[in-house]
Symmetry: C2
Subunit: 242 residues, 2 copies
């Protein structure tokens, strides 16, 4: 599942002097995957939660499309939205193929994820872009890691589903333009990013609990250490302090 | 291009006693098509406007997904959103294949269509559903008719692109449930539908003007007569008075 960060960081054309060396997603996931494999919830729980989460990522991206001030931004963000919808539909099909009712499988996650969306949607266009970029990146990494704990064939299919760009290029391009133009905006978005990571970690953590186990902190800690490192690199890529 | 109304009205399972016989979309379009063929703007103008319009239809549908109160409604409306995005992307590819810059081709239509979207987005979930249903139906009919005036091969490809359901089934199902439960809501939505058709006709009419000609009323009248008949049938399908 390397394409997201590879596409994001693999472009040599616009290096930022202050940005540290960034690792491809595969590295972060490789570590997290080992830790996460045994924490994965049952397949139906996993698929139901991830299917509803892709709806939330879709809602955030479509909000960004509506708020976008240029035709260029609208059409490139709409491409990202289509990718997330394709992932949602693939997960719905996985649920159907397993004999589950997709709506029933998603329902238990609606209240928490809707609440997460409302708290994290952002007050304006730049904040919404940061939300799409950071929560989308964090939670896609997290669920890609968890997929290692699913039955093998299903885990591989889900990894392919999650191998999406989700507009990271477009999000970073839009954000860099805005941040480079305003130190005040940079400061506000850095604060917003710090708040987002807290809310996002709560969502990730609750999905481990919903799996029926309550893993101890010593199990969860290494997972989040890796995911937070990836989060910090995303902030660095924007020139923001995590 | 029959599927939209065929799918909408072709289901015999829930007949409404008060609803008149409704015609398949192909009939309305067949008449409008004859009238519209000679009014079609140049291909690039047509494609640019329709590409931006599909973004607007997408924004309305994605707003409905966000406002939807149930998981079932969210996931079925998200399917409709994906269809509209596929149409948008197909139109972007048509522009690219013709050597045009899609963003440059869409740009002239942004201000008017953004304004149209803001005026017609609706104050709440039911109004937004009505907007998606009525403006999506009217403008898809209109552009499907205009496509007859494009170069033959392009016109056929565009007709295929516009042969989308755009969530009409899901929209009608959601609206019927809400309307059947509240006479007061029915009255409010009937008024909303009447206002929408005015704003929607203005958008359609301006696209004829932008084509470089200013066709006389006698040319435009028969076209709109057909499109308004289709609009009335959509209102009837909801049990609302047009």
């Amino acid at each position: 599942v390397p394409s997201l960060i590879r596409r994001l960081f693999g472009r040599g054309s616009r290096p930022r002097p202050s940005a540290p060396h960034v690792h491809p997603r595969s590295e972060a996931i490789a570590v997290a995957r080992v830790e996460l494999a045994e924490l994965a919830p049952p397949s139906k729980v996993y698929l139901g939660q991830l299917a509803y989460l892709t709806l939330v990522l879709f809602e955030n991206l479509s909000r960004a499309v509506t708020l976008a001030p240029t035709t260029q931004a609208k059409t490139s963000l709409s491409r990202a939205t289509a990718e997330v919808l394709e992932a949602h539909e693939a997960l719905i099909r996985e649920l159907e193929d397993s004999g589950a009712d997709p709506v029933v499988a998603m329902e238990p996650f609606r209240a928490e994820l809707d609440d997460f969306r409302r708290r994290t949607q952002g007050a304006d266009y730049p904040e919404t872009l940061v939300t799409c970029y950071l929560t989308g990146g964090f939670l896609t990494d997290f669920f890609a890691g968890l997929a290692a704990g699913l039955p093998k064939a299903l885990g591989e299919r889900v990894s392919t589903v999650l191998d999406i760009d989700a507009g990271q290029d477009a999000l970073v391009a839009e954000l860099r333009t805005a941040i480079d133009a305003s130190a005040r905006l940079a400061s506000r978005l850095a604060m917003w990013g710090r708040r987002l990571v807290g809310d996002t970690m709560l969502v990730a953590r609750s999905s481990l609990v919903i799996g029926g186990r309550l893993p101890g902190e010593e199990r969860i800690e290494p997972v989040f250490t890796e995911l937070i490192s990836a989060h910090t690199r995303r902030m660095d890529a924007l020139g923001l302090t995590a």
